[in-house]
């Protein structure tokens, strides 16, 4: 099942039919489905967001149905991630949730007002130029939706297949798309994946138990993620991580700046979007 199919299967009745009716060319460049209460369903492509045909506005039952399909009618099983504002469904499809949050219990049916369904992509070979050996600790930077996870996933696969032992902290389960004992994406022959655990906790566990040569993780956002990077670097393990950043300017997030000053990372890869293409800029520190 392709990433598009996996994402579209989560849409309710008429919206799903409309999504599958889109021309193949549009489906190939689709990045997200967006459902907002009282607004027409829309689809995001490299050209921006546009309505999904002439469908009626989204009602509460549509949003509840999406949540039901994504959690397989089991919000209790996804309570931890829902508390953090997302759900990962089959095929590594990540749903961002918005609405009236109930403190301590995340979302229940009837309290959602927006859902953003991200379509996961596997672009094999996109990391080819950056997977040379010996591998330097690398940080991938781009704004949200820039393709960081796609590049990270391919880099993990290539390095793993080249012989490195990779430990992957997949907190949201969208890199490897683990589901019922298998993986939706190829992350390489020598990759060990720890899913659904907070990054710092996962990093400590992987360093202690899996003897990695490279520790990979997505989206360094909090101070504890930066601590996990320092710890891994201190153990002589190379790092491969991503972070949100404005790649056009020179401003970097506060969490990342000290890591660069401490030379925890020695290479930056900035992703810039040019229409539906990605441009990669490599910078050595």
């Amino acid at each position: 099942m392709s990433g598009f199919d996996a994402a579209a299967e989560l849409l309710p009745g008429g919206i799903k039919t409309a999504a599958f009716a889109m021309p193949e060319g549009v489906r190939a460049v689709c990045e997200e489905f967006r459902l907002r209460l009282g607004r027409r369903p829309s689809v995001t492509t490299s050209d921006g967001e546009r309505p999904l045909y002439d469908l009626p506005p989204v009602v509460r039952a549509d949003l509840d149905r999406v949540l039901e399909l994504a959690t397989r009618a089991s919000p209790y099983a996804a309570a931890e991630s829902m508390e953090k504002g997302f759900v990962t469904a089959r095929g590594g499809v990540r749903l961002g949730l918005c609405g009236r949050k109930k403190p301590g219990s995340g979302w229940a049916m009837g309290s959602l007002t927006s859902v953003c369904i991200r379509i996961p992509r596997e672009v094999r070979g996109c990391a080819g130029p950056f997977a040379s050996m010996p591998f330097p600790s690398t940080l991938i930077l781009s704004p949200p939706g820039g393709g960081k996870t796609t590049l990270l996933r391919d880099m993990v696969r290539l390095l793993s297949d080249k012989g490195l032992h990779i430990s992957l902290c997949d907190e949201r389960g969208e890199i490897a798309a683990g589901w019922e004992g298998g993986f939706g994406f190829d992350v390489g022959k020598r990759t060990d994946v720890l899913s659904d655990a907070p990054r710092r906790e996962a990093a400590v566990q992987l360093l202690r138990t899996m003897s990695p040569q490279v520790l990979a993780m997505d989206e360094i956002t909090a101070a504890c993620d930066a601590d996990a990077c320092r710890m891994a670097a201190g153990c002589g393990v190379k790092l491969l991580a991503t972070a949100h950043a404005d790649t056009a300017g020179s401003v970097l997030p506060a969490t990342v700046t000290p890591l660069l000053a401490e030379r925890i990372f020695t290479r930056l890869i900035r992703i810039r979007r040019n229409k539906d293409k990605r441009e990669y800029a490599e910078q050595w520190l």
Partner: protein
């Protein structure tokens, strides 16, 4: 004339005993079904509260562990992708030969779990309802057992008088 009266009394007693036994057997079956359902609910609780499996996956587990109670439950997964879980689950339960109140309690459990209610509370409520229902059935079964015994004794007595 006297023989006719005696035969009449015997017929009444025999039919009373027969229907008493039939009701007793049906109550006993219903109580056995309820006991099975209570075991199934306990199993569901372990799978959901500890293993955190989804309700879709639970249908497969139920069919595997309790084939006599939930035959064909795993086929519901396809229907659940087309319609809301609570409606598909309720339709399935309505077609099963469960005591009505037990089927309702199970349907309510499915609705509560699928809408995001706290699972332990939902299971507590369901188990309590089932156990109360079972206690009620057991009580009626006991009363009916006494009735059957009474009728049997009377029939035996009349037969004995006739033979003597």
């Amino acid at each position: 004339m006297a023989v006719r009266k005696i035969i009449g009394v015997m017929l009444v007693l025999t039919s009373g005993l027969g229907s008493g036994i039939a009701v007793w057997i049906s109550l006993r079956r219903s109580a056995e079904t309820l006991e099975g359902l209570i075991r199934a609910v306990r199993y569901m609780r372990t799978q959901i509260c500890i293993r955190k499996i989804s309700l879709y996956a639970l249908t497969e587990e139920l069919e595997r562990e309790f084939p006599a109670l939930f035959p064909g439950a795993s086929d519901l997964q396809k229907k659940m992708t087309e319609g809301p879980f609570h409606a598909v689950w309720k339709d399935y339960l309505d077609c099963r030969p469960f005591p009505r109140e037990a089927a309702m309690a199970l349907a309510e459990l499915g609705t509560e779990l699928s809408r995001g209610d706290e699972p332990d509370g939902a299971f507590d409520r369901c188990t309590k309802k089932m156990e109360a229902l079972l206690a009620e059935k057991r009580e009626v079964e006991k009363k009916n057992g006494r009735l059957c015994a009474g009728l049997g004794f009377s029939l035996g007595a009349v037969t004995a008088i006739l033979l003597l």
